[in-house]
C-alpha cells in the first residue's frame, strides 16, 4: 500500500487524466446522440471512446513504465529486498487505477445523461465491463512495452499497437474487444466476456514476470517457471477467447411494445421512447401513398420475429424489418415493405434492371417525401429531387398517374420483353 500510494501521487497520469477525461467526453458526446434514449446504446456508447482513449492511456503507461530505465534506477531496484515484480505491480496498479478512473468518469457521465432521457430498463453492465477489460488489456500491454522497448519509442509503439489491436479485432466477432453500438437485439455473452477478462489478467501476469525477468537475477530460479507460467497463461487465455465464440449473440425477443393506431408499429421495449414518433409516421403512410401501395397491418422491429441481421451475428430474416438506428432508417424500412418487387423471371431476365431500380427509388422517394412533407432527404440526388418537386405540386390525379406509371415499370421490369 505504501508503494501504491506513492505511485498514485507520482504517476504522470495524475496530470494527464483531466485531458484524457476531456477526450473521453468529447468522443462520447461530440457526435450523434441517438444513443441517449436506449440503455443498451448508451451502455455501448460508454465504452465507445476506448478505441481512441485506451491507446492514449497505453502510451502514458509505456512512458511511465520506462522511467526506471530512463533514470537508470532499475539497477538500484535489483539490489532491494522486495522482488522486482512487487515494485512493478504497485506501479502498474497505479497506472490501471488512473486508466480505470478516466474510463469510469466518462462512462458514468454517459449513463447519467442517458438516465435523464428516461429510457426504460437499466444500464447494461456487460458493455461497461467490456470497456474496462479492453482498457486494462491495452494499458497493460503499454506498460509491458515500456519495460521492454527503448523508452523514447515505447509510447508510440504502445499507442499504435493499442489502436490497431482494437481496430483489427473488431470485425471478427470471436476476437472483438470493442463495439461501435449496442442494439437491443444483441447482447454480450458471458463466456466470451470472461475469456477476455482472463486475457487481461494473463497480460498482467506477463508484465510482472517480465519485470522479474528483467532483474536478471540468475540465482533466483523461480523466475523461470513463473515466466513459463505467464506465457502459458497468455496463450491459454487467447485460446479460450478463440473457443468462447462470438462476443455477442441474439437476445431472446421480449414481448414487444406496440402502438394502438393503424398500421400498428411494434418495437422492442428498449425502444419504447421512440414508438410514439414512429407510430405517427406509420399512420401517415396510407394517406401519403394515396392508397396505391399496400400498407402492412403491422410493422415489426427487427429481431422480434427472428434473429436480426448484424455484423456480429448470422444474418437474420426478413430483410425489411425496422431498424431503429434513426427515425429516417425506420421510416425507410417501413416504406421499403410497401414498394412491390418485380416478378422474378429466372429463365427470361430483363437485360437491364436499372430502370426498374430507378422506378422503385422514385416510388420510395415519393412516399417518403409526402410522409415527412419535404424532399430534403434526397438533396444528394439532384435529378430525383427535381422530379419529386415537380410531381408533388401537381394535383392528386396526376400524381396517381405518375405512380401508376412507375408501378408499371416495376411490374414489367423483371422479365425481358
Amino acid at each position: 500500500m505504501t508503494a501504491l500510494l506513492i505511485e498514485l501521487r507520482r504517476s504522470p497520469l495524475r496530470w494527464w487524466a483531466p485531458g484524457i477525461v476531456a477526450l473521453t467526453l468529447l468522443l462520447s458526446f461530440g457526435f450523434e446522440a441517438s444513443w441517449q434514449d436506449v440503455w443498451s446504446q448508451a451502455s455501448a456508447r460508454a465504452q465507445y471512446p476506448v478505441l481512441f482513449v485506451a491507446p492514449v492511456l497505453a502510451a502514458a503507461a509505456a512512458w511511465s513504465a520506462s522511467r526506471t530505465r530512463r533514470r537508470g534506477f532499475d539497477a538500484h531496484l535489483h539490489t532491494m529486498y522486495r522482488p522486482r515484480w512487487q515494485a512493478e505491480m504497485a506501479h502498474l496498479c497505479a497506472t490501471l487505477i488512473y486508466a480505470a478512473g478516466c474510463y469510469l468518469v466518462g462512462a458514468v457521465t454517459v449513463l447519467v445523461v442517458a438516465a435523464s432521457a428516461g429510457p426504460p430498463g437499466l444500464p447494461w453492465p456487460s458493455y461497461l465491463v467490456l470497456g474496462l477489460i479492453a482498457t486494462t488489456a491495452v494499458v497493460t500491454v503499454g506498460h509491458l512495452l515500456g519495460l521492454l522497448t527503448p523508452p523514447l519509442i515505447s509510447p508510440v509503439l504502445a499507442a499504435v499497437f493499442g489502436y490497431l489491436a482494437i481496430v483489427y479485432t473488431y470485425p471478427y466477432p470471436q476476437w472483438a474487444f470493442w463495439v461501435v453500438s449496442g442494439r437491443p437485439q444483441a447482447e454480450i455473452l458471458l463466456p466470451p466476456l470472461a475469456a477476455r477478462f482472463v486475457v487481461a489478467v494473463a497480460l498482467v501476469l506477463v508484465v510482472l514476470t517480465a519485470a522479474a525477468w528483467s532483474a536478471r537475477d540468475l540465482r533466483n530460479r523461480r523466475s523461470r517457471p513463473a515466466a513459463l507460467l505467464a506465457v502459458v497463461a497468455l496463450v491459454g487465455s487467447l485460446a479460450l477467447v478463440d473457443t468462447a465464440g462470438p462476443l455477442r449473440g441474439h437476445r431472446e425477443p421480449p414481448t414487444p411494445v406496440c402502438s394502438e393506431g393503424t398500421p400498428r408499429v411494434c418495437v422492442w421495449p428498449d425502444h419504447a421512447l421512440r414508438l410514439e414518433r414512429l407510430a405517427t409516421l406509420a399512420e401517415r403512410l396510407p394517406a401519403a401513398s394515396l392508397g396505391l401501395l399496400d400498407v402492412p397491418d403491422t410493422f415489426y422491429e427487427e429481431g422480434l420475429r427472428g434473429p436480426a441481421p448484424g455484423i456480429t451475428m448470422a444474418a437474420g430474416r426478413p430483410p425489411y424489418e425496422l431498424t431503429l438506428q434513426s427515425e429516417r432508417s425506420a421510416l425507410a424500412m417501413m416504406i421499403h415493405q410497401m414498394i412491390p418487387h418485380s416478378p422474378e423471371c429466372p429463365g427470361n431476365p430483363a437485360p437491364d434492371l436499372r430502370e426498374v431500380s430507378r422506378a422503385r427509388d422514385r416510388l420510395f422517394a415519393w412516399v417518403y417525401s409526402r410522409t415527412v412533407d419535404s424532399t430534403e432527404a434526397f438533396a444528394d440526388d439532384q435529378p430525383l429531387q427535381e422530379e419529386l418537386d415537380r410531381v408533388l405540386v401537381t394535383p392528386e390525379p396526376e400524381q396517381v398517374a405518375w405512380v401508376e406509371s412507375q408501378l408499371a415499370i416495376v411490374d414489367a421490369g423483371g422479365c425481358a420483353a
Partner: protein
C-alpha cells in the same frame, strides 16, 4: 560466529570477482565488524566492485560472501541479506518526480521496512542527513549535494545492519562533509558502515578501520593510526595518513 549479536557482520572468503574475462579479485579474504570501515584505493583498485558484491548487485564468481549472517551466493541468502543492507552506489540514480520523503519511503518499502513503523525511520533518516526542510521538494529540485544526502538517507533508512557507501562525500561541501562524518560515526555504533573513497581525510576523521585495495589485492588492513604509522619517511603526501597510503601502495618515492 555470531553475526546477529556479535560485531562481525561481513565475511569474505576466497572471493573471485570480475567482469567477463577481466578478473578484479582472486582469492580475497576480508572481515568487517560493526563500526566504520574505510576502503581506500586508486581508480580501478576494485573498491566499487567490492561494494557491488557486498550489495548483492553482482553475485560472487567463486568463494563465499556472508553479509549479516546470510550467504549472498544463494537466492535465499541474497534476499535475506538485502533486507539488512543499505547501499548508496557511486552513480546514484533516482526518480526525479518523487519528493525526498516519498523517495526515502519508497526505498524503505523496497527494503522491507514494516509499513507500520515507516514514518518514524523515514523521518529519522531524512533528519539525519539534514534534509527535513527539503523533505517535500522533488528530487529534480535538489542540488548535487542534497541529492547525495538523499541517497545517504535512502541507504540508512530502517537502520540496516550493513551500510555501503560508495564515494558518499562526492558533491558535499566542507561543512556537509563534517556533518556527514558525524553521521556515519553515529551509524557505526549499531551497524557495519563501509565507505569507499579517495579521500583519506574522511577515513582519518571517521573510520575505525581501513583497508587499502590495489590491483584487486588487499594491501593493508588496520586502523587509521596504523596506516599513518606505516608511512615511509620519503613517501609522498601532505599528512601522515596520505604518506602511509602512498607507502602501502608502493609509491614511496617523492615526486
Amino acid at each position: 560466529m555470531d553475526h546477529q549479536n556479535g560485531s562481525l557482520l561481513i565475511t569474505i572468503n576466497g572471493l573471485r570477482q570480475g567482469y567477463r574475462r577481466r578478473t578484479v579479485f582472486d582469492d580475497l579474504h576480508l572481515t568487517v565488524e560493526r563500526g566504520v570501515t574505510g576502503i581506500l584505493g586508486p581508480n580501478g583498485a576494485g573498491k566499487t566492485t567490492l561494494l557491488r558484491t557486498l550489495a548483492t548487485v553482482t553475485p560472487p564468481q567463486a568463494g563465499t560472501v556472508t553479509v549479516a549472517g546470510h550467504d549472498v551466493g544463494t537466492a535465499r541468502g541474497t534476499r535475506a541479506a538485502r533486507r539488512r543492507i543499505g547501499f548508496l552506489p557511486q552513480d546514484f540514480r533516482y526518480l526525479p518526480s518523487f519528493t525526498v520523503r516519498e523517495f526515502v519511503s519508497y526505498c524503505a518499502w523496497l527494503r522491507g521496512v514494516p509499513r507500520r513503523s515507516l514514518p518514524g525511520p523515514v523521518n529519522d533518516a531524512i533528519e539525519a542527513v539534514g534534509l527535513t526542510e527539503a523533505a517535500r521538494l522533488r528530487l529534480r529540485q535538489l542540488s548535487g549535494g542534497m541529492l547525495r544526502r538523499c541517497g545517504i538517507a535512502q541507504a540508512i533508512v530502517g537502520d540496516p545492519d550493513v551500510v555501503l557507501l560508495d564515494e558518499p562525500t562526492a558533491g558535499l561541501d566542507p561543512l556537509q562533509r563534517v556533518e556527514f562524518r558525524a553521521l556515519i560515526r553515529r551509524l557505526g555504533t549499531s551497524a557495519a558502515v563501509i565507505i569507499s573513497t579517495h579521500l583519506v581525510e574522511d577515513v582519518a576523521a571517521a573510520c575505525d578501520r581501513v583497508h587499502v585495495l590495489a590491483d584487486g589485492r588487499l594491501r593493508f588492513s588496520g586502523t587509521p593510526d596504523e596506516l599513518s604509522a606505516a608511512a615511509a619517511p620519503d613517501a609522498v603526501g601532505d599528512s601522515p595518513m596520505e604518506r602511509g597510503y602512498a607507502t602501502v601502495l608502493g609509491r614511496s618515492v617523492a615526486a
